[in-house]
Subunit: 379 residues, 2 copies
């Protein structure tokens, strides 16, 4: 294995794949990045055994030669140190040569001899059948992840809730996440060619977070291949293979209320800032409880802390009420997360009772997104 | 106590004084910030009991009314939450009113009732006599701190080495710090009016770091009052009172070698970058050992790690040698710290033997600064 490569492209790929590496992996070799040099490209591989990523750098990009290939080959290198060595290399082009399992790195007057792992010991990535797939606009996929992944349950809860439930049926793609105190659901209608496809998968949070980081300013489409226990995501020059969470995701349809005794419409930013201020007094308590009191076209937001004191703020809203007044207690953090996820200028909040889950949505319903939050019982 | 204050000035002061607060102070009240409102200014106070700071906000700044004073008074508030409340306040001017030990904060439609501490319980700051003082240009004082404080010993060593030794005699102000493996010394000649003054103090690292943060882009002069066991630093509207470390600082003059068998002159940036690259292979070892081999107008820098591999880099330097070759082993980190502290375009390094301390200085000696580093014995 011997080649010369342009530093910036190499570094971008290395930084990218290294994100999935678990620095304290029990499998020593998974702390490494695998380089596979073929006759026309360099493939970088990394894995934490649940999520595996392959990143291809083509020899030519826009007719420029990025890689000068002398000899093909494979090598596995300790990721952190190798990336720093490339990052600090003094020249634009870097020469790399394999000698047994080590590699030599030449850049200007600097020369490194880096101990590698035996590439034969690096696990093969699983191969998935190409029978079933669908395509999704990258920006929409990015939104779907951003809007749901924050509602997955933290690690110490039921494994099934640590992922996002992605299902497709009758062209309706539904992403759902819940930690059992709140729920977020985004629905996207796919085009006609997907009308026969059907699946119901649970994708681990961590895999989606890695993937979102890559596509957050992305373009074009993502192609998703699916099987029972894994999916493969194709985006540009990158392939993610993800082991799914097995089990049956709970049916959450029946949790969403349909009758409301109070609704309010508010500017999102003003609402967020008021909740943010008031929760300065509640955020250190476990439940972060703030109280909302809706009356005619007015909302009072307040909090109380034995230690710190109290806060109250009034704001104008558009409201519709059955009675004179509606009161509810809720986590300030959950409210803020919901408003952030919705990311629209105005929100509508629909309450069906003091002790039942309520809904937060964009006031113009321009995206099919629903945030459901359970109130806190304060007595 | 009742006043209205412009948010930006208030916040700047609060952020400033809060830096010295130890969040886990055993004295509960020292987690607070004290506000003292007089008839023409607001004074903010904070302390970790070793370092105390007072920050004054005048009622008028450049003829603009910053504070509208209704009633004088004193209050002590929990720092972290209070600062966040002010930071997130929606209006430019904020109204504050004391009710028993609590305060009410009004801004727009938002209202906070914050529990405070009893201001009577807040410790009085020590008063220092104004008999002895000297003045130093703020930029020079900033340099003096920056150039020495990094060489103080970490917390687990001799307390006396955890501070910077500042002495004045015959107008010569000397700042020295050493962790016993390396030493940094900066000398400043004061003007005639200081010829009778004399002191020899040890200032704790932490106090100097706080103070440097404030003056790092500062102007004008700092006035320093000194007594046996404390100093007070005046800078603009801020007063720092610092409890000194007691004891006799070791005499370090005799450590500095005067005969050299090898010297080299190098561009600082090139030297730093080469050491930085080579130490990628050594930095994870406790001693971070890199080897320097000086020969005629050439320097070879190298490192070896059992686990990671090796690195070597050649560079052109100007050298003067007694023999054909001079070899020495040294901590890469110490070398980089020394070059950073010197901050000049070129450095000169003067070696007096393989096992004795060597000197790093600016090649043009434009500042009286000396960095001394002990080599590492590798056999």
């Amino acid at each position: 294995m011997k080649f010369t490569i342009q530093k910036s492209y190499f570094l971008e790929g290395l930084n990218h794949v290294s994100r999935v590496i678990a620095p304290h992996s029990i499998l020593e070799i998974l702390k490494g990045i695998k380089l596979e040099l073929t006759d026309n490209k360099l493939i970088l591989k990394a894995s934490d055994s649940l999520v595996s990523v392959e990143y291809a750098i083509n020899q030519y990009i826009d007719d420029k030669e990025i890689i000068t290939i002398e000899d093909e080959g494979q090598v596995v290198l300790p990721s952190r140190n190798f990336i720093e060595i490339i990052r600090k290399a003094p020249t634009d082009f870097i020469e790399i040569e394999k000698v047994s399992n080590n590699i030599l790195v030449y850049s200007g007057n600097s020369e490194f001899n880096i101990k590698g792992y035996d590439p034969e010991e690096y696990p093969e990535f699983p191969v998935i059948s190409k029978d079933n797939s669908f395509k999704l606009d990258t920006k929409i996929f990015n939104d779907v992840i951003r809007e749901t992944v924050f509602c997955t349950a933290p690690n110490d809860q039921r494994p099934i809730l640590e992922g996002v439930n992605l299902s497709l049926r009758n062209k309706i793609l539904t992403a759902t996440a819940t930690d059992s105190y709140r729920l977020s659901r985004r629905v996207v209608i796919l085009n006609e060619e997907n009308s026969e496809k059907e699946f119901n998968l649970i994708i681990p949070r961590k895999a989606l977070q890695y993937f979102q980081k890559m596509i957050e300013n992305g373009q074009g489409e993502v192609e998703i291949f699916y099987e029972n226990n894994r999916i493969v995501l194709y985006y540009q020059n990158v392939v993610y293979t993800v082991l799914l969470i097995s089990g049956n995701y709970p049916n959450t349809d029946k949790l969403i209320p349909t009758n409301f005794e109070c609704t309010l419409v508010s500017n999102s930013r003003e609402f967020f800032n008021a909740v943010d201020r008031v929760s300065l007094m509640s955020r250190e308590d476990k439940d972060d409880i703030i109280k909302l009191i809706v009356s005619e076209n007015s909302l009072e937001i307040s909090s109380q802390s034995k230690e710190l004191g109290s806060a109250v703020e009034e704001m104008n809203v558009k409201s519709m009420l059955e009675d004179d007044k509606f009161e509810i207690s809720v986590s300030g953090k959950y409210l803020k997360d919901a408003v952030n996820a919705i990311a629209s200028e105005e929100i509508i909040i629909k309450f069906s009772g003091e002790l039942t889950a309520f809904i937060v949505q964009p006031s113009d319903y321009h995206r099919d997104i629903i945030e459901l939050i359970l109130p806190v019982r304060t007595y």
